[in-house]
Amino acid sequence: MRDVAIIATAQTKHVRAATATNEVEMIQPVIQEVIERSGVDRHGFDFTCSGSSDYLAGQPFSFVMTLDAVAAWPPISESHVEMDGAWALYEAWVKIQTGHADTALVYSYGKSSPGDLPRVLSRMTDPYYEAPLWPSSVDIAALQARAAIQAGVTSEQAMADIAYRSRTSAAANPFAQLTSSAQPSALMDEEYLADPLRRHDCAPITDGGVAIVLAAGDKARSLCSRPAWIRGIDHRADGHHLNFRDLTTSPSVSIAAEKAGVANGPIEIAELHTCFTHHEPILRSALGLGDDVEVNPSGGPLAANPMMAAGLIRMVEVANRIHSGEVSRGVAHATGGHALQHNLIAVLEGEG
């Protein structure tokens, strides 16, 4: 495999509702910023790939308009996934592995504000047995949280602690949406949103976007003083039907972690795509992370959760800390579907 690294990143300030800008106006400054940071000419990328969702935008072919922001003229080699941008990065990484590209621009974005997000996400269920019941994303997560609590994987107290820790960590993240939290004891006094989940257990609804630049080998070294090398990357799916799954574990994460080589060295930080507090202990266990591993120093999705971007942002948060020299090895996780159905794991490392 070729050495491929994240050499530049940029993201929006994440907000509840970006009511002034449309999608292309929201993502354009981020794309411009990452291109300038990368040192690659605007028209010099060998490949471009993006991730977004028509259902989120509420219109078909919603990605066509955002293509304006990458200056696809003269024409470019380009593709799009109807998934989180972490999978757009994966496609770009594969493209570089084929040898057809040395550099790639990857971006993704999501505006959840136009629709009723939990209701929109209910459309992501089996059309025959589940979708007609309109189960919201929070309802499904609550079923999983209940199972996890009953199995002793977590507790409501532990979940409140995770919420508190995530949102106070986010105070140091200039892009985060939620940057403070009441004490866990006060959180525990709140009403249930969907028992056993309280509001603090759920990621906020967010508008935002993210962009990164990938480069291979010496190209990466020439453009970045300390590239964040992708040492391993893999993604796997679990089944869809909740009653067929053990919701308290994540076999797909364990497979992807093994393929990505998470255990091949010490992990200093993990940025996990935890849309709900109970995801953290499930993921920690499936990844085999020790108690000493710092999880979501950025605050994670519990502090800002732009759909279709929040997974790629996990990679950005690990890469930024490698770029700065703060850490040498970290793991990033992205998820898609309900109850952690589809998971991507990447191991990022600095050199030397």
Binding site: A18, T19, A20, T21, N22, V24, E25, Q28, I31, Q32, R42, G58, Q59, M65, L67, D68, A69, V70, A71, A72, W73, K111, S113, P114, G115, D116, R119, V120, R123, P127, Y128, A131, P132
Partner: protein, 195 residues
């Protein structure tokens, strides 16, 4: 809602091929053989979205409410876009300079439509044209009326026909259609760069 009453679909003729269904033990559902099959499941879905027009479109719509057409210029190529979408697709940079356009335009190309795709066509056939608004560099689609459909040609000069001033809103529908303005045709060679 489960629909068991719809008529049987035409039997599908599966071509001879190499494919075969995997063997499935159907004994558990043997009793269902006499039950009428479910032919379709209709699940009605309705969702409401509040769309954001964005900065450039908002500027455009505010102008169109005042019976003005305002495009935006690409800072790199100087080309003027209508309707503006906020970013020049050629430079990838925001368009910030507004350009007052004319209310007349020129047919670049067109088609004659013989079915009512609008839901309330005034006449069939009708002409849907690519129209280059004066002062802009990219054509928009519009309805051409007040001329026999078989007399529309590229180069035909048009004026925009608007709703009554009292009915003006922040909508493209302020322009009801386009109609000949009586000026001489523009030579086709002048339009070559716009299609």
């Amino acid at each position: 809602m489960t629909d068991t009453t719809s008529s049987q679909p035409a039997p599908i003729e599966i071509p001879e091929g190499v494919w075969s269904q995997p063997a499935v033990n159907m004994s558990a559902v043997a009793d269902l053989e006499s039950v009428e099959a479910v032919r379709s499941v209709r699940a009605f879905a309705s969702m409401t979205y509040d769309y954001t027009p964005g900065l450039a479109t908002t500027r455009f719509l505010r102008a169109i409410k005042e019976k003005r057409l305002v495009g935006e210029r690409c800072s790199e190529t100087g080309k003027v876009y209508i309707p503006p979408r906020g970013v020049s697709p050629v430079s990838g940079l925001p368009t910030t300079e507004q350009v007052e356009l004319g209310l007349d335009g020129t047919v670049v190309s067109f088609c004659v439509v013989n079915l009512d795709f609008t839901g309330n066509a005034q006449e069939i056939p009708y002409v849907s044209a690519l129209i280059l608004v004066d002062g802009s560099d990219i054509p928009i689609y519009g309805l051409v009326r007040e001329i026999p459909y078989n007399e529309v040609q590229p180069g035909l000069r048009l004026k925009s026909v608007w709703v009554e001033d009292s009915e003006l809103t922040t909508s493209f529908e302020n322009i009801k259609w386009w109609a000949p303005n009586g000026e001489p045709d523009v030579p086709a060679s002048d339009l070559a760069d716009y299609i």
